[in-house]
Symmetry: D2
Subunit: 403 residues, 4 copies
């Protein structure tokens, strides 16, 4: 395992970092204020499109994507890790570089499984940052951590598929730029357990698609990205919208989740790192009971514990990324489970400590801490709660050492 | 110490519980929907005023207040504890019974220190639930956990006091019914450290008072109650608005914080208890990987740990309440510090587990968990961060055992 | 629930405390030194018999036993709790007052189920502190936390029972004063699951009984009490040695475990309390980097957390004791499980912190901390590991709230 | 940073692992039994000397030592890490390869600072494994975590130094093969704070040196290695026994502590890894309540958490080792502090979980868990308690981010 990066990656990291310092952090306030002052919150602050243009012009674009036709930076998972961490330091960072979920996963799926027509219609504008997309998997009625529970029906009728179902936590669906959804559902309830599901492209504007409402996380609607409840009532799309072959939905989902999980972890390490730096700065600048907070033993211990937690999670994430590059995602699933269990909880804990040092301001809209906390908390559930990953990981480890 | 309650208290507890079941829980959805659908979020859902009328008619009103003239139920802290816990099970519960912060603290201050005129003008309508109030202490510029840091100036000029300063986290100030603030600031910077502060009544409508903006907690504005940033620019009030005597502000604040802290803890135990009950119901009703969640070992352990945590915090809170009844608040300060350290973290932890069992729904507006989590997290900072209380408690305990 | 104690109990507590201060703590060094310097470690330091005589003379004897003929103090579980806590503050404390495990459990079993002959022969000398006893239940070959796994055979042959099996963790068996064992095993493998077991009296001197070896806990043999591996090879005892009726063994075991568990918890609270007091004294007396340890923020936090942890566990234990007095042990099993889960881990944690403040001395034979730590750690496994109690408790709580 | 190892290191790792499997693990029982059955416990089981001969013959000897004259394997810290981890999997492992503390540290000090005469007399036999040594630094009377507190006097009198003082936790001093001590004390109380100390060679057989008693850890004497209290009364040694120059003691101590700390951490990772493997095997082989322990959700979670904890600590330790190779120990002190804080607590936690899965056997002499637990617990205090390292680390990190 080699964690030394090539000059190319070091250079990209330096440029992304510099771009963040010069352009992204200073724009955070403007971005949020724009939404705050708009009549509807589902608007895109112009500063975002400006930042995207700049990043694209600087060649800091689609870095997540291993070489694909004319797109992508050709980076391995390991090489992408330090870049994703730096982007993750701002809640508006990843989108600036066209590296934000769920578009990254959707683009990867289209690149790998899409027909030429599907790519021309949806992948190219996504790669160009002209539209956005969402992924409709989770359902309110069932424990969706077990994907075989999913009940949305995708029925073949002649040359069309007809979709009926209710989804929620369809992230990005409320974004006005979101034009296309990938929907997961059952095409054959009688097939073997893992071949009942398919994935299909559904344009948001299709008749029968209703964005029921935005869901909130701790009261925040995460506008203008958002997380929607979406109703599909007799939604008809051409059969050619199916991704891959019928019954392949579960396998496609598995393939997307590995990279998806590690991307979240990389970003969360960035969140935690920034929280730590803010905690240090705050502790150094505030005085209580005649002493700087940074001179209080318990604050120092919180800082010490945080750097230990972050550094360990970072190294584990790098190891998982390296392993994903070396073997199949399936073979790397122990390490993917490990970081999925470790990184979000680590970030939640570190950010919680940073909030504590900031006092009530740490909970408010005045710092990035509250948003980052909500993000970390959410990822402990996204793509399966910690418990599911721990159970699966524990079973693998028993198999390894007690065979 | 006697934790057996009198028949009177048992009867009140039964009636409050029944009122919650019949009236409050069923109204939660309507309450939130009303705000969600209003143009401005700073409106009072009519259902709240209806509930208040009913509770008043049922004699479940001002239960927090030890007998005061014609008001109050004459309960001790210990007797009030089980009632506050039950009310705390809903985020809209305490207000229904006119037992919500910061009004309770303000009413106690006015009852104890107010002149007859001050009481007639402000205490009576507060006791009647006709107006609401707020308490402006925390400031953005200084570590307010150390109250001597506070910088707002309250200058005597002839027959008036002139107030200049910037406050935030002034809870309840954005509520349209909030008519009066108690403001804490310095009347004499040359007095001994703990005699520089005074508290003064400032009607919200006074010239020079600006509600700058509502602060959010994890993105939630907590409307229509809210937490405001408030600017005081040359605000002039009659000298008769001073509460108690000049320089007594710190002492008055100390007196209010003991009960204030324990009330929060009681409510948070109610929050945690309800979260546990919801966790059980959810675990029993969801199936993943072929088994009910309630049959999974790790879920059972989370439930077991939660009941242990709750029960212990409840008993500690009862002990603190009993002690506050027996001796002065000052002498009970070790136990008050203990529950302030224990109960909010306990509640945050238990609610976090309940969220995990609920999946992403647990983070959304569809259950009370997200609100309750934010409340618990906030109280870990309100009236001083955990660290301040632990430091003070540790010092007391060393003094006790190593004298 | 009433945690106020009668004058009788307050008086006993005062006397036990005074006895500990005057006689027990000062004898700890002598007790340990005597064993250290003996050729064999399985000797009884004379100071122990002296202390027992004194305690008996002072009427501080058999306090655990609810009135039984001429014996016992007639205390309820709740009333015994503060006394057991005080005795538990020294590892040699409980024996001084004839209140140590496993004798207390054995005496209760004999008092409740023994025949007159069994009582005359074994109970009376136990009550007088003339002999000691042990309880042979756990077996090396099976997970004994599930008592139905137990494999020791107790076969009726004519007028005798013949016992074959291997036990371990038979506490007290290596003590030279230990004359009698209660052995649990199967009398009928074809009976219903919970009626296969019986309990039988086996004098240690019986042919076929071999004390194989003492087991150690973290390298300590806990001499002269000890924990033995015991082999039973064709051990024959008269049929009249059976306790209760055949097949009643499981039920008798259940009946003894409730009080046994709570007694351990009471003692562990005493251990933790003493550790806290020692931690305070040490922190006040040591200086590092120019400051007393007691002035370091992180030490203060450890002290603060410890008092919170102890106080909560103490209150929970009192509640469990009160509940055991009010209803059957079976109905109080939720609370018994709670304290079994809470108190040992609490004690381990608090003592671990106290060790840390003492530096390496805290690990050595020079303080009571190392012994107390080992005791707490052991109780997390004795009578079933935490996991078993949490699982059972979780199931009960789901049943309560999700019925 | 490059965690890929050269073929040489991979080969060494394979050979050390194979040697452990073939020779060391199978000898553990014999080693312990020999001591158990000896009259005095301070004897060396012959199997140890046999193992040492074999390891030496196999070229697995002094691997810790970077090339020194004809000795040492020339490995960097990073290269040594995986080897030390494997050796650390047995409590008797490191000594077999002549890689055990405190000899390693003493040999490094002599190699770096010793005169030719000192090396000939003491270093050569140590490198050959013919004698053992100890390091007398910690004192009972002062908080030795602050090395400037140390009070032992080393007075120059003519051509001699005269040593007076009381040390304890002088590890290895009770070993009958221990012939030489390095003693730290004050040569000049008037010098600047960090130049008051010197280190000096004191043969154990010198007049005035008394091994007062062995100290125990949780009741275990750790024979035949042991930890002694040592009294120095007018102990006279030639002035040529001084190591380095007068006043250099503090600096020499600093230089030894970095590698010493990381060696302990490497070994502890081995302990934790073995505990995890044992936990898996045990969980797979025991049945309770009708299910294998390995199928219980909470056991799986404990296993999952443990592999996450171990893997993270391992990576952090490798990073610290790599950093120590790249820059000075002083510059790597943040990472050394991190692993000192992380690894021992991690190991204690993982081993505690493994004990829990083993039931009471896990506490006994029948597995390596109890010994390993005591070792991990001890290292949380050795070379300074966690709190000291966290405080120092926290301060460094504040300096880095809030400058």
């Amino acid at each position: 395992m080699n964690f030394t990066f090539t000059a190319k990656v070091d250079d990209l990291a330096r440029r992304v970092d510099s771009f963040m310092n010069t352009n992204v952090y200073p724009a955070e306030r403007e971005y949020h204020d724009y939404i705050e002052k708009s009549k509807t919150r589902w608007v895109i602050p112009p500063v975002m499109e400006d930042l995207k243009k700049k990043a694209k012009a600087d060649g800091l674009w689609n870095l997540f994507l291993a070489e694909f036709e004319d797109y992508g930076a050709g980076l391995s998972n390991l090489e992408y890790a330090p870049l994703a961490e730096i982007m993750g330091r701002s809640m508006i960072g990843p989108e600036v570089f066209n590296c934000s979920a769920p578009d990254t996963g959707n683009m990867e799926v289209l690149a790998r499984y899409g027909t030429q027509a599907q790519r021309d219609e949806w992948l190219v504008p996504l790669l160009n940052g002209e539209i956005r997309s969402s992924f409709a998997m989770t359902e309110p009625a069932v424990a969706s951590s077990d994907a075989t529970n999913i009940q949305c029906m995708i029925d073949k009728q002649g040359n069309e598929y007809v979709i009926n179902g209710r989804k929620w936590w369809t992230s990005g669906a409320p974004d006005p730029r979101c034009k296309i959804m990938i929907v997961m559902g059952k095409t054959d309830v009688n097939a073997p357990r893992h071949q009942q599901q398919s994935q299909i492209l559904v344009p948001v504007a299709t008749k029968g698609v209703t964005i029921v409402r935005p869901l909130k996380v701790f009261g925040s609607d995460d506008a203008p990205h958002g997380h929607a409840e979406v109703l599909f009532e007799n939604v008809r799309v051409p059969a050619s919208n199916l991704i891959g072959s019928q019954g392949e939905g579960f396998a496609i989902a598995q393939g997307r989740l590995g990279p998806g999980r590690i991307h979240h972890c990389m970003r969360l390490i960035g969140c935690a790192q920034r929280a730590l730096e803010m905690m240090c700065a705050r502790a150094e600048s505030r005085v209580a009971f005649g002493k700087k907070l940074s001179e209080q033993g318990s604050v120092r211990e919180d800082i010490a514990r945080s750097i230990c937690d972050i550094e360990q999670a970072r190294l584990l994430t790098l190891k998982a990324a390296a392993r994903m590059d070396e073997v199949s995602y399936k073979e790397a699933r122990d390490l993917i489970a490990m970081i999925k269990v470790v990184a979000p909880t680590m970030a939640q804990t570190v950010i919680d400590r940073a909030i504590q040092v900031h006092g009530a301001m740490g909970l408010s809209q005045d710092t990035f801490l509250a948003e980052a906390f909500a993000y970390a908390r959410t990822v402990r559930l996204a793509d399966g709660p910690d418990q599911v990953h721990m159970s699966s990981l524990g079973k693998q480890i028993v198999g390894r050492y007690a065979a």
